[in-house]
Amino acid sequence: MSWSKRGSHRYYIRKVRRGDRFVTVYIGRGPAAEAIAALDAEISAARRGLIAAHAEQAAVADAVDAPAELVKVLVEALTEASLLASGHHYDDHGEWKRLRGK
């Protein structure tokens, strides 16, 4: 969203996506255009705030996930080691099976 200067006047324009390309939509000038521009600015600021809040919460979620994933990796490896050492193997059907003679 921006203002375009033509001659002695400035016009409020919007860049709008239409399919794969962006087109310029002329809103116009005067009090109505000023009001629309103010509203657009408000919506844009709110959207930026929301994106920042989402990014912050996504970072929190990742920070909670990280230690749990480390425990998971180590426990899965220990489980696998115990199963292998006690004569099991992971078969093609996704199940642990005993090896004959164990």
């Binding site: 919460q57 749990a68 180590l74």
Partner: protein, 206 residues
Amino acid sequence: MTKPKKKIDPSRDIVNALSPSSGFDADALRTFFDLVSRTDHDRPDPIDLLKLEDLLIANPGIWRGVADLAVRGINLMIDQINPSPSVRLSLRRGADELRAELAGVGASPLESVLAEQISVCWVRLRIFEVWHISAAAEGDPVLIKFWEARVTSAQHRFLAACESLARIRRLAARTPQLLQINVADQQINVARAAGKDLPPALDLAP
């Protein structure tokens, strides 16, 4: 129980996450992951299997490291929600009680680490639920959807961890040596007790 799919070296991250006093041997951990990777075949080399057993006996720090990782991980996770002292205590106590209840008295090292994992998954699930409730109160549909997905994922992880413990106990009913690695008094009675040095054939019976 899901099999690790990524053949990466997670030992570096794990060692970094452990406290220096946990008695964790970084080299032993690397060797451990390497041996697990090498023995993960239909016909594993019996020498590698013996090495794996020896390593598990000689390095009890690997088993105990899970407890250290779990305690530190739970504290880190709880810190993220900046809770009141009572909520912090409630989460820690809940995790402790769940772990103790699931492991039971005289649990084997394997059962203990699986119970630790379940307690960590439980804390994560509780924290995500708190965030989900908070997002619902704020009424932001994008955040609600985001936390819903995280709660669902955490529920799946929690259930998968519970299933792992149940599956191990079911397998141990037929193969008791699975749970006979006794780190505390250095007693182990796994495959070597059977005196089988040759690669075993597959038993396709369930």
